[in-house]
Symmetry: C2
Subunit: 255 residues, 2 copies
DNA sequence: CGACATTTGTGCGTATGTATT
DNA sequence: CAATACATACGCACAAATGTC
């Protein structure tokens, strides 16, 4: 036992253990996102493992956004965001992109389900409240962009984010934002054309807003369905044109 | 240039690059979950980086379930599941467990939203279809377990999984399963008591099933709300008893 | 601005446990 | 059982980023 390793028992599963130990450290000290963590060297001594193990554990935790590592500065408790979900869904979407775009369609369907599932609470929340001038303004800007033949991804994202701003549910809001992000990241990667009937989408946003302020749940649900329809048909169209020209797997750059 | 590092240009951002390169490799070869990947040594040569970098990249990808590493066997394309989301949500839930159990409540609210948001499609799907004898059997077993004073986590999980089995949306089904898993993993960690009024929960499952087979969307939505009510009140009760005895942060075991 | 300390990032050699053959 | 292939882990040295004086 001259160079490496401690007792063969202790070092077994040292890696899995290290991840859990660091998580325990955060939990037991009640650290919050942004709080500083010990340096890698200190963690090595505290946990009795080598720096390689600590580093791999920190890599795992940082990819889950449980810790955030800043080069030359230190490590901190991470934002506990949905970024791992976003990476995974984007990868899945691109992976079956040459097929039937199934994942992308499913992501859109999930967005629909979330908008429908929060409909009642959202309408109830706006009952008797002030009109949503912020959302009204976003719709107006969408209309202006459309008139100029431009897109309005910025306004669309803001609309769906602000729509749920009053929900008192961070996870739902983060999930909705994450799914929106997946969609907007994947579409350019696949070279999909932006939806054709843009006008309808703007109108659908307005209809959602009207129904919301009118307190009409059923109208809101209908507007949600109408809103996503152009997206779904665009995906279907892309699938049709894709299956016409099935791309053969390219050779990998590496190997 | 005797010991470490290649040219300072080539190794720039080697870390970020390595993860992306491996993802590209999978994408360009159109690999599917379970397909084998090159050994770490081969990846080192192919990407021109050291084993450390490849290992850390593989750690990142494996924690995102994009690759799966089997000890002493090799690396394979991962299942692209929701496991990163589960880890993250469990950690978040436990982290604010000594507070207001906010994350746990939000997870339950998200489950409600998903069940409500898929209500219409689910009812439509069952219209004219055969009765769900499988779900009926699960409810019956729940009732038997309750009569013996036992829990029925197994049957509950199966019920909510099988409920959406016909949905043709893998992501929604995986998300629902993932959230159920978060809930059942977190509750024991926090030592929360199982819901008190178990009978109502069994009845609510039955009511959901009845409404589904009757094709009554509105009754289904009501049953969903009733179903989650015991859970929500249990969480509220735990918050109340928690705030009575606010635990001070313990000293961390390490450091 | 430059010199310096601190901290993370990368490379490499090596030892060891484990699964396959 | 032995040989082989592979993943896991350790330790050190150097590179690069960041903050401070």
């Amino acid at each position: 036992m001259n160079t490496a390793a401690g007792s063969s028992v202790a070092r077994r599963k040292a890696q899995w253990s290290t991840v859990e130990e660091i998580k325990q450290y955060i939990l037991e000290l009640r650290l919050h996102p942004g709080d500083p963590l010990p340096t890698e060297t200190e963690l090595c001594e505290a946990l009795g493992v080598s720096r390689s193990s600590v580093r791999e554990a920190m890599r795992t935790l940082s990819s889950l956004d449980i810790v955030e590592v800043r080069h030359g500065h230190g490590s901190f408790v991470g934002g506990l965001s949905m970024s791992p979900l976003v990476s995974g869904l984007i990868f899945r979407s691109v992976l079956d992109s040459e097929g039937d775009l199934r994942t992308l369609r499913e992501v859109v369907d999930l967005r629909i389900a979330l908008d429908l599932g929060t409909a009642e609470e959202l309408v109830e929340l706006h009952r008797g409240g002030p009109p949503r001038d912020d959302l009204r303004g976003l719709v107006e800007r969408m209309r202006q962009h459309t008139a100029r033949g431009e897109g309005f991804a910025e306004e669309d994202g803001a609309f769906h984010r602000e729509l749920l701003a009053g929900l008192d549910n961070t996870i739902v809001r983060q999930l909705v934002s994450a799914l929106w992000e997946v969609h907007t990241e994947v579409v350019p990667k696949l070279g999909l054309p932006p939806a054709r009937d843009i006008d309808k989408t703007v109108e659908a946003h307005e209809a959602m807003l009207d129904a919301l302020e009118a307190g009409d749940v059923e109208a809101y649900r209908t507007a949600v369905a109408d809103h996503y329809q152009p997206l779904l048909t665009a995906i279907e169209a892309a699938v049709a044109s894709n299956s016409a020209t099935p791309a053969a797997p390219r050779e990998a750059r590496i190997s």
